[in-house]
Symmetry: C2
Subunit: 335 residues, 2 copies
């Protein structure tokens, strides 16, 4: 049926243990090495990962647990993680918990039962004990995008605070004072950080934040649409608006266009996440771009390292920089 290490042994005349040694990078005579390689080729041998795993207690499998598979930010990170891990022979089990803490727990248990060698997790707020449990079990874990308090754990973050700070600062520099922000739910770490950056830059410039200009959405298209209109109804309306994720940016753009609000004459605009929007929307939209590729790659790399039992620098907190693309959606206003 399928060819095993035994068949290779027979073919080469060597013993099973020698073949195994070869497979695991041990010392084997050059001559035998060639022989084994030939055998592997002609017999089309593939290591049986289950047999190997049974002995070594490794599954060559990594679990990735994200809030939703319907959010491009998350899935493009997953895509990058998957590519990196595959290169090292790991397969990626993707689970989404649909933003539901109970599902998160259930799926995490599932990953444990499957004895994954490592886990990448974007935790839901509040479920901190879950994270502690993973760590207690000794399963290598990398957190992504969201921080958990009081826990030592490798984590890959985006510098959301400075992302906001820099974006809003550009507006302030250009004379804007009434700057609206459409921000995510305040129990979500990234949303908190993005709001903090907004507030801090006002403080640093000695300006007062008008709480009416802070709108809390749910990271969906629809809330972007409605909150933008709410902002514009305020009297006087803000002269600029900063929208803090992709879906809400799309929603805001639709609202703006539909209502013949002009960018940047009626309002200056900075959006989030999707670089394409810069090219598509007229005038070209200014955008905060997150380094999705780097996030995925960094997370994969550190997880691979930990799975190799390399604990150097633990816990490593990586905070990646965003990029601010300034285009034509911002105008100067007179102080």
């Amino acid at each position: 049926m399928t060819t095993t290490i035994k068949d290779i042994a027979k073919y080469t005349g060597l013993s099973i243990s020698t073949i195994s040694k070869y497979l695991n990078g041990g010392n084997v005579l050059e001559r035998n090495k060639k022989l084994i390689e030939e055998a592997i080729q002609t017999l089309d041998f593939k290591v049986n990962e289950m047999a190997r795993g049974l002995r070594t207690n490794r599954t060559m499998t990594v679990g990735v647990l994200i809030p939703s598979l319907e959010n491009i930010f998350f899935t493009s990170i997953v895509s990058n993680i998957e590519s990196m891990l595959l290169k090292e022979g790991y397969s990626t089990i993707v689970c989404d918990y649909k933003e539901d803490p109970r599902l998160e727990e259930k799926k995490l248990q599932f990953l444990f039962d499957k004895m994954v060698d490592g886990i990448v997790l974007m935790p839901v707020p509040g479920n901190d004990n879950l994270v502690k449990e993973i760590i207690a079990r000794g399963t290598p874990l990398v957190l992504i995008d969201r921080l958990v308090n009081d826990v030592d754990c490798d984590v890959v973050l985006v510098d959301n605070l400075n992302a906001s700070y820099n974006a809003v600062e550009q507006l302030i520099i250009r004379g804007h004072r009434r700057i609206g922000i459409i921000v995510g739910p305040q129990n979500i770490y990234t949303a908190q950080e993005r709001l903090k950056g907004y507030i801090r830059v006002f403080e640093d410039y000695g300006l007062k934040v008008d709480p009416n200009l802070i709108k809390y959405g749910d990271y969906q298209i629809e809330s972007g649409y409605h909150l933008l209109l709410e902002l514009m109804k305020i009297d006087p309306p803000p002269t600029a608006v900063y929208v803090t994720n992709y879906e809400m940016t799309i929603g805001s753009i639709i609202a703006i266009n539909e209502n013949n609000i002009r960018i940047p004459d009626d309002i200056s605009f900075i959006g989030f996440d999707n670089q394409d929007l810069t090219r598509i929307v007229k005038p070209a939209l200014s955008i905060v771009v997150q380094p999705v590729q780097q996030i995925g790659e960094t997370a994969a790399k550190i997880l691979l390292k930990r799975m190799r039992k390399d604990q150097k620098g633990f816990p490593v907190v990586t905070r990646l920089k965003t990029e601010l693309l300034l285009r034509d959606s911002i105008k100067k206003v007179e102080g």
Copy 2:
């Protein structure tokens, strides 16, 4: 360390094989059953899937191979598949091949090496031999969304032809004759079908198709944006337009709003895929909605069946209906 079937045997005083029999649903005395269950509870026993797999040649693992993880249509299908499979104890290994046939091949090989028990595939056009290879190996396979010629295989499709037919028919019924279509790449099965439906309804109504009104895009936001503008530049412009996927619909909407084109006065509009747009865009957008949940569930169900060695009805071709949401983006025109 971890508790094994051996520990359960010791705890209960029964033999290993009896425990195994219990685990696999064999006949065990009620009294012993209770005893075993208690032991499993208190010792927190979990079957070692690798040891089991080594014996049974099953990995309890399914591979899902999709063109891209950055397309919501695909990922929401994956989400549903994953949920269904998890209920039966299967884990889902997700791979995306970034629309690249060579990557598709590589990742498929990877899935083979991992000895997945089944595969769900959205094949790239042209790589038909890949599909044949999977079938030759005897690995249960379900195709999704795209058909492959000359191959017997279970497949879950969307009735794209009638989706288009019905949508465009509504436009014709309301008096439209010059109807633009923004369609996907013509080497992609779904795009072909969507175009066919458009053409057929014209034929059925004895109308002539104007090839200038057919615009071929690449399913990305940007092409929706540009192609819509191209259509509007035609003299005379179409009175209605039908856009055939989510990203291009978004692009078109942005183009329309930016250029102060009015829906439905200047142009009637039918979009695709994302139900939310109905609620967000003003006036409410008419949309063709694909049954993503059903697609995922159907695919998972039939795959589970095949993995149970149940070959009933093979090959099953499921063609799911789309839903047409008619809203305010269509107006009547005088014949």
